[in-house]
């Protein structure tokens, strides 16, 4: 029995969320007195995979079949199932990402496992039961869930684990092949189109986010958001009405019906703080609200606030960050 960790890579690098997942998985392995093995998917390099030792991984399995560079649901599921078989994995840990959810849900049926997604904490062993805490009601609550199956699959919510850094530890990287055939690639993408990222920081992975609402008045003012984001090394986001009228692209929309983020810092500029917006951001560690209306509901959910005009306040903040650096 062992813990198998699914590590997503992109452009040779291990994704930040996968460093968190690796740290989660290795700590579970330690709790259970077993080893943590990773299986890598996407475009990786051996050197980068070896550094997963810092997150407590002893061995990384990697299939460098070039067809696996982009996500293919059928092939990824088969690869991970084969790795789980080889390692007699009882527990599989993956990211609560679009890839993790697509693969994890199929694997749970194939391996007859209990599946919990959106998990925010290490498991507890409670009277012989294996219990995980997960986000529910779109960020408005948590639930404790027993995973009663013999095998368990855990999808860890982004930014809910501090990655371990055991300097100097390295993992061994082993070639691994799941004997994939053409039929495993039947749902391969015809084309992959990447977004242009402001400053190259992906919103779902970001640990700092600067977000704008209707109070920004129009897309022509977004340079104020982008300047602050750039100075901070943050990603940009927006409220739903802003993407509905195409001031910003849909993939930047956060909230109950957009994406959920939980960065260390979320700065809301000209956003009122409607309950559906809060649902997507309220697990952020520190929330800053800038709004000219002192009665804006967002202030109730904030750690720091400035009652003021975004057009006056944002340039001052950007200036202050530049001075600090």
């Amino acid at each position: 029995m062992s813990v198998l960790i699914v590590v997503e890579c992109d452009n040779g690098e291990v994704k930040k969320s996968s460093l968190e997942v690796a740290s989660y998985g290795s700590q579970v392995a330690q709790m259970l007195g077993t080893t943590a093995t990773a299986v890598a998917v996407g475009e990786a390099t051996e050197t980068n995979l070896a550094t997963l030792g810092e997150q407590g991984i002893s061995k990384v399995l990697y299939d460098n079949d070039s067809r696996l560079k982009d996500f293919v649901n059928g092939a990824y599921t088969k690869l991970i199932a084969a790795a789980a078989q080889q390692e007699s994995a009882q527990i599989i840990v993956l990211a609560n990402s679009n890839i993790g959810a697509a693969v994890g849900s199929r694997l749970s049926v194939r391996l007859q496992a209990s599946l919990a997604t959106n998990v925010v904490e290490l498991p507890k062993m409670d009277g012989g039961q294996f219990v995980v805490k997960r986000g529910a009601y779109s960020g408005k609550a948590f639930s404790d869930v027993i995973l009663s199956g013999e095998r368990k699959i855990i999808a860890v919510k982004k930014n809910s684990m501090e990655p371990l850094h055991n300097a100097g530890q390295t993992a061994t990287v082993e070639q691994f092949s799941a004997q994939l055939t053409d039929t495993d690639f039947a749902d391969a993408p015809k084309q992959v189109i990447m977004q242009e990222q402001a400053g190259g920081i992906l919103l779902p992975e970001a640990d700092k986010v600067v977000s704008g609402g209707r109070g920004m008045k129009g897309p022509e003012n977004w340079n104020l958001i982008e300047d602050l984001a750039k100075a901070l090394g943050a990603a940009t986001a927006c409220s739903k009405p802003v993407s509905d009228v195409d001031w910003r692209p849909h993939h930047e929309h956060v909230g109950q019906t957009g994406i959920t983020v939980s960065p260390n810092l979320y700065i809301a500029c000209g956003i009122s703080g409607a309950i559906q917006h809060l649902a997507g951001v309220n697990s952020s560690k520190v929330i800053v609200v800038i709004n000219k209306d002192p009665e804006a509901p967002f202030f109730k959910a904030a750690d720091y606030g400035i009652v003021g005009d975004v057009f006056d306040v944002l340039p001052k903040l950007t200036q202050a960050v530049k001075e600090l650096n």
Partner: protein, 245 residues
Amino acid sequence: MKFLVCISNVPDTTTKIAFTPDNKELNKAGVQFVINPWDEYALTRAIELKEKLGGNVTVLNVGEADTEPNIRKALAIGADDAIRVNAKPTDAFFVAQQIAAAVKEGGYDIILMGKESIDYNGFQVHGMVGELLGIPTVAPAIKLDVEGNTATLEREIEGGKEIVEVATPFVVSCQEPMCEPRIPNMRGIMTARTKPLKVVEPTGEAARTQVTEFALPPKKQGVKLIPAESAGDLIKLLRNEAKVI
């Protein structure tokens, strides 16, 4: 083309979540239940495709009798008939088994659902149904077009999208901006009353997960206000006090 749209019954998005005193269940007092917002995209897109290609749209809900008003609402929006699997939707695997059984029985070409339900936030059912039936799943999709027996979809990935082509039958989980969700009109509401709603009993194995307790997030300490004139001080606080930059 036969479409099956899976809908769940969830608290309205404005609901202030509270639990029963033992924290084991949602306190339903005063809560209004709606069709899961993500499922509305699936439903509307299925109706649009049916209007274009011909066929039939069936909605399916796993739920007890109190979900029927929302099933009728889906019929009012434009679905042709409905199935209610008479059971509490205990976990994603249990629900997926019911959907897979309905597909085997009804022979659907495209099985649509929302990305996730806004109460359980599982984002699991799509893949489980696909795996139970041995057919592809595309999740989450932001675009779905169908020609003949082939569908072209845009699948959202972190940082971009993939263009995917699959043959029917397949499962798709939908999210915005796939379409503009429709609301029922008067005629729809009138005709919905007489559209067929079949109630079936659940099959399959028991749930593989059990919720033991709910909890609300910890309360915030209260906001620290910084005067707009000295906005730059905020940055110092974020570095020295909050230690997040």
